[in-house]
Symmetry: C2
Subunit: 123 residues, 2 copies
DNA sequence: GTAACCGATATACCAAAGGATACCGATATA
DNA sequence: TATATCGGTATCCTTTGGTATATCGGTTAC
């Protein structure tokens, strides 16, 4: 039932269609901003400390990195662990819930690749 | 090779991972802004005229509707057809290319639904 | 003693996104 | 004559997103 959504669009009522609107917007909101995807991708191959992320993600400022990490933490996509070293070290890790974004990211990547190709052809 | 991307993250180099960054950002850019998804979803069950979209998409201003439709047109997701009626009627249609976004939208919707559920549970 | 590292925060600023409102010419309706 | 419809555009304004730069306290290395 819900599985057929968007696959036989002509059969769907406006109300049925609008049911997908909010979830899609929720998902986009979680990924919104210039740096969330770069951060998530950076964390995919392993935990990272603040400075490591800062070095790895070119162009990001410490303020934005801190802010975006907080938002990812609020959405339980990332965990923040403080270690009692000297000086203190803080490790960021993608949660298992965070890895459930893989399908979304892969769908976006696949479409993005096709789109790049299409834009190239037009020129 | 590329298919395994994000499925066995620990095996991937930074350069391999960063290959997905640009396509994902491209895709998100195409969907960016407050109104693109509502417009696309509105067009999924059939062609619509400007005023129909304006009425159907609650909250949007004519300025934003016009602007977002132009961007969708530039990306060949939507076509604009002017009919020589009186007064003139303009029809917007999702292209077949536009419908290739279905996988992306469904992935976003599925994740968004799970996320809503998860947020609810926390409370 | 002074410079650097760590994980940030504070302040100031700027540009882009989006909203509110008014208006357009052509036509139809009251 | 006045008002409404259609598909927008023009102008102004506010909000948000993002940048730049300086600074913090505690510690270590030079």
């Amino acid at each position: 039932m819900a599985k057929n959504f968007l696959q036989n669009p002509s059969k769907l009522s406006t109300t049925e269609c609008s049911k997908s609107l909010l979830p899609v917007q929720d998902a986009l909101y979680v990924l919104s901003g210039k740096w969330k995807i770069p951060i998530i991708i950076a964390l995919i191959h392993g935990n990272k400390r603040f400075k490591e992320l800062h070095r790895e993600i070119t162009g990001i400022t410490a303020k934005m990195l801190s802010k975006e990490l907080k938002e990812l933490e609020v959405n339980t996509l990332v965990t923040r662990t403080v270690y009692d070293t000297i000086p203190v070290s803080v490790e960021y890790e993608l949660t298992t819930y965070g890895t459930t974004l893989n399908d979304v990211i892969m769908a976006l990547r696949d479409w993005g690749l096709k789109h790049r190709q299409k834009i190239k052809e037009k020129k």
